[in-house]
Symmetry: C2
Subunit: 251 residues, 2 copies
C-alpha cells in the first residue's frame, strides 16, 4: 500500500486528502497544514511542522504556486519522491535534494462541493521511470483518467483551463449580477448553461456558435450594449462579440 | 387539441416542430419554410407560400430577428394569435393586424443535437388574457418550465444568455484551438467544463471563482500571456483577468 503525505490543505489538498483517504490502495500517512486546526477531519495525522513529516512513498505539495519552491526547500529529508500539483510550474521548481515530479489534477475544487475524483484527469510527470510508476500507481488508485504529460503541454492545458473554467465562471458571475439587478431567477439560465457545456463534447465549439455576434445582428448587439450599465461588461461584450465574428470568418 | 403552425425552419423552428409534433396535446398543422425542401421530415404539411397558411390556434414565427416584422406583415389573415420566438424583440414588432404574443424558449438549438424540450424554460407574453392562456397551454404541453415574463425582463434574460452561452461557447472555441495547436486532446478539459457548469447551480459564481486572476498571481498570468500567440486571445485574457480582480474587490 502506497504511503501518501499531503502538504498543504487548501481546496486541492483537501480534495486530494479525501480521495486518498477513501482509496483502499493508498494510505494517507500525514497532512501538513500551516495551521494544524484546519485539517480537522484528520486530527491524528495533521502536523504544522514541516520537519516532522513521517516517511512516505510520495509527498504531494498542494500549496499556492508561489510557495511551492519555498515549501520544497524546507523539507528536512532527501532523496524521496516529492511532486507538486500545480498546472503551470515545472518539476524543477522542487529543487534537487529530493526526486521531483508533478501530479496535476485538472479540475476546479472548492470547499463547498465534493468532486468525484474518479473522473478527474490527472497529469503526471517525473524524471525517473520508477518515480513515474509510483505517481501512476497513486493516480490510478484515484482516477480512471491518468495521462503522462510534459511540462509545456501541461502549461497549455492549464492555460486552456483558465479559459473554460475561470473565465467562463466569470461570465456566469456577470449573468448572475444582471439577473439579480433585475430580480430575475438565475435558475432560468441553468438549462442553457448545461446544454452549452454538453454540446461542446459532441460538436466543435466554433460550429456550435449561436447568438447575435455570429449572425452579424448589429441591431441586437447595439441594444445589448445599451442595456449594460457596467463599463467592464460593455468592454467584455464588445471584445467577445468581435472575437466571435473574427473567428467565424476563418471557418 | 391546439393547432400550431410554425413559420420558419431554422434551428429554433426545427426544434419546436419536433417538440410540437411529439406532444399528444398539440397538433402541428403546418410548417412554413422559404425553401419547402428543408422541412423534409414533414413534407405533407410544409409550404413555402405564406398566403397558403391553414387556420391554426397559434402561429409561431421563428425566423431571424430582423425578418420577424416582415414575415408578420406578409401574413394573409387577421385577428389570429401570432407569437414570435425571439429573446430581444417586443411583441409589438408583429404589428396590429393579428393578436400578438411572445413564445421565447431560453435554450440554444442546433441541427446536430436533440434538446429535451421538457426542461427548456419558455418565456411567454401576450396583451390579452385569453391569448396568454393559449400560449401557456402550448408551452405547458412542451415544457415543465413556463414563465410569464415581460419584454424588458426577457431582454435582460436574452442578454444574460449571450454571456453564459454565446460568450462561454467562444471561450470553449479558444481552448479547442489551443489544444489543437499543441496536439492535446480537448476531452481532458471536459470534466472541468462540466464541474464549472454544475457548480454554479449551488455556489454563487463570484464565490466559486478560482484561478490566477482571483489569487492575484501575476507571475502565472504573465506566463499565460507569453504563451498566447493570437492577439485577440491576449486581449480577452487581460480583460477577463482584470474583470475578475475588479469583481473580487467588491466581495
Amino acid at each position: 500500500m502506497l504511503k501518501i503525505a499531503i502538504i498543504g490543505f487548501g481546496n486541492v489538498g483537501r480534495a486530494l486528502a479525501q480521495a486518498v483517504h477513501a482509496s483502499p490502495q493508498l494510505e494517507l500517512v500525514q497532512i501538513y497544514n500551516r495551521s494544524a486546526m484546519a485539517a480537522k477531519d484528520y486530527p491524528h495525522i495533521t502536523t504544522n511542522d514541516l520537519s516532522a513529516l513521517k516517511p512516505a512513498d510520495l509527498y504531494l505539495i498542494s500549496v499556492s504556486d508561489r510557495s511551492v519552491a519555498e515549501v520544497a526547500q524546507a523539507l528536512a529529508f532527501e532523496n524521496r519522491l516529492v511532486a507538486h500539483t500545480a498546472g503551470s510550474l515545472p518539476a524543477q521548481v522542487l529543487g534537487t535534494r529530493n526526486r521531483s515530479g508533478v501530479f496535476y489534477p485538472l479540475q476546479t475544487f472548492s470547499k463547498t462541493r465534493a468532486v468525484d475524483f474518479s473522473t478527474v484527469p490527472i497529469c503526471i510527470e517525473a524524471a525517473f521511470e520508477r518515480d513515474l510508476a509510483t505517481l501512476e500507481a497513486c493516480a490510478r488508485a484515484l482516477s480512471n483518467q491518468v495521462h503522462v504529460i510534459g511540462t509545456d503541454a501541461r502549461k497549455m492545458l492549464h492555460l486552456s483551463a483558465v479559459f473554460v473554467c475561470n473565465f467562463t465562471n466569470h461570465l456566469y458571475a456577470i449573468a448572475q449580477d444582471l439577473c439579480k439587478q433585475h430580480s430575475l431567477p438565475f435558475s432560468l439560465l441553468e438549462p442553457l448553461i448545461m446544454e452549452t457545456a454538453l454540446k461542446v463534447r459532441e460538436v466543435p465549439a466554433a460550429s456550435a456558435q449561436t447568438g447575435p455576434a455570429i449572425r452579424g445582428d448589429q441591431k441586437v448587439m447595439d441594444a445589448h450594449l445599451a442595456l449594460l450599465t457596467n463599463d467592464i461588461h460593455k468592454q467584455i461584450y464588445t471584445l467577445l462579440s468581435g472575437a466571435i465574428q473574427e473567428h467565424g470568418k476563418k471557418l
